[in-house]
């Protein structure tokens, strides 16, 4: 029994890892394609059919570059920066439920690496650590631009994490649980949280842009003032790790968004599908549905990036502290009152 569960979880972990990596790879291509389309261009189309091998070519190029480190006293920290970024981006996916369960070999397989009862808390803890990758990398670069970018990233993350946490509290008032699996199960059918928490969803969404360091909140790496910010001094695959981590965390945060608000793997008629087509088929469809939701959020990430200019720093802070946090508090209040009245 113990052994089978070990094998089962290992397989799930491996598959999730592989999918995250694959997605991150092809998100780089997707980003370039979407950027091109929005700008009325075609985009990369020379490597493979329609540019399908482009990520491999990019990866190969990064591997072939010289690994250069600046003259810094913090060689160890310099390597640690991208490592942390990458690790954090990957371990978040450990608690995400990718589907309900499959019935294989006479046992129910829960499609989740670890169902811990504080899953949501875990995600927040891990996401807060992710800024250390940028901070340490920026600090160790021994370059004023990198350091400035690190400071920006840190202050931005702190500001937006508060609004994010507050918007989640309203959600928690409703769900009464921190376990992601249970949150997913509660949204059965069309019972999605977005219909009960539209404002919370919006705030959470905006904050996840800031958390993943994406435009319009990519002040940490802005080209014009900070010449790339924290990855100015990085080259070769260390830089690749930073870039890769950004895409991996985009994937994960899209997954979190879909699981928390957009009904995870639930789709209308899932119960009917379970009864008529069996658990397995219903859940495979469920996983695909979750995947489509994730892809939608990823697309919006890119779409926004190629639409909006970057916020000015004071606008960023104003938006975070003076708009989003009061809105999130208001959302909590309304939710609490409504729940009380409905009792």
């Amino acid at each position: 029994m113990d052994n089978t569960i070990l094998i089962e979880k290992s397989v799930i972990i491996l598959v999730v890892f592989a999918i995250t990596m694959l997605m991150a790879m092809y998100m780089t291509l997707a980003e370039r394609k979407i950027a091109a389309w929005i700008q009325d261009r075609i985009g990369p189309n020379r490597a493979g059919k329609g540019g399908i091998l482009q990520p491999l070519a990019d990866g190969l190029k990064l591997f072939a570059k010289e690994e250069y480190a600046p003259d810094t006293p913090n060689k160890f920290l310099f390597v640690l920066g991208p490592t942390i970024s990458m690790t954090i981006a990957l371990i978040t996916s450990a608690v995400l439920p990718w589907g309900d369960k499959l019935h294989l070999f006479g046992r129910d397989i829960i499609l989740q690496s670890a169902d811990i009862n504080v899953g949501l808390l875990y995600i927040f803890a891990v996401l807060s650590v992710s800024v250390y990758g940028i901070m340490i990398g920026g600090w160790a670069s021994n370059n004023k631009y990198s350091l400035m970018s690190a400071m920006r990233a840190a202050s931005q993350m702190i500001s937006y994490e508060i609004a994010m946490g507050l918007s989640i509290i309203a959600l928690l008032l409703m769900t009464q649980t921190l376990s992601l699996r249970e949150i997913a199960l509660q949204q059965n059918g069309m019972n999605w949280n977005i219909f009960y928490q539209p404002l919370g969803f919006l705030i959470f969404w905006i904050c996840s842009f800031a958390e993943t360091n994406r435009n319009p909140f990519d002040l940490a790496e802005c080209e014009q003032e900070l010449i790339g910010g924290y990855h100015t001094e990085y080259s070769s695959m260390r830089m690749g790790f930073f870039l890769f981590a950004e895409y991996a965390s985009m994937f994960v945060s899209s997954a979190i968004l879909s699981i928390l608000y957009l009904g995870a793997y639930n789709y209308p008629g899932m119960d009917w599908a379970v009864e008529n087509w069996g658990v397995n088929i219903a859940n495979v469809i469920g996983m695909l549905v979750l995947f489509i939701k994730i892809c939608f959020f990823i697309f919006v990430y890119m779409w926004v990036r190629w639409t909006l200019p970057r916020f000015r720093y004071d606008q960023l802070m104003n938006l975070g502290w003076k708009k989003l946090i009061p809105l999130a508090l208001f959302n909590i209040l309304v939710t609490a009152v409504v729940i009380l009245l409905l009792k």
């Binding site: 979407i34 091109a36 389309w37 929005i38 700008q39 009325d40 261009r41 075609i42 189309n45 919006l202 779409w303 926004v304 190629w306 639409t307 909006l308 938006l319 708009k323």
Partner: protein, 180 residues
């Protein structure tokens, strides 16, 4: 109407520093509008020209690489008068004149000919003034899509007679066509 407020393009907008309303200050409406614009662009016709496979369409009055012409008997027409060099605004043409020997009558039409004739393709602006200046109709800008190929030395862009004079086969073909 003062010039400050007049809009030549019809798109001028007055800059205003009015305070944003609360709805504007959370940017959402403006963002939604902007996203709609970019979404529409995703389905527009692409402007990219996939270069080696596709090329830009040329204008019908396009002026390409020069050619020093031959007459119907295959003789070079240029008499090295230097008018083309004089008319050239880019000073791209230079030449050396030589006197035709009696046994060279089948090679050059006039008694004086250009022994060296060079055009610096880096200077030339393909204006076609040389063509207009020439009294002997000896130099023409062709419609050929052969360009001065990219190269790494400046010298290689100075085209001499080898590159410029019309190939003999072409002259033979032309005269055959004219007779027919």
């Amino acid at each position: 109407m003062s010039l400050d407020t007049y809009s030549f393009s019809g798109r001028k907008k007055q800059v205003s520093n009015k305070k944003l309303t609360w709805l504007e200050s959370i940017y959402l409406v403006a963002i939604a509008k902007g996203m709609w614009v970019t979404l529409k662009h995703m389905f527009r016709k692409k402007v990219t020209i996939s270069y080696p496979e596709q090329t830009r369409p040329f204008s019908p009055v396009y002026r390409g690489l020069h050619m020093l012409m031959r007459d119907d008997e295959g003789r070079e027409r240029c008499t090295a008068c230097g008018l083309c060099a004089l008319s050239c605004p880019a000073e791209a043409i230079s030449m050396t004149a030589a006197e035709r020997k009696p046994e060279e009558k089948h090679l050059y039409r006039e008694e004086k000919y250009a022994s060296i004739y060079e055009i610096n393709m880096l200077r030339c602006i393909f204006c076609g003034l040389c063509e207009e200046a020439c009294p002997k109709q000896a130099i023409y800008l062709t419609k050929s899509k052969v360009f001065a190929k990219s190269n790494s030395t400046r010298e290689s862009f100075i085209f001499g007679k080898e590159e410029l004079v019309m190939p003999l086969e072409m002259a033979i073909q032309n005269s055959k066509q004219n007779q027919a």
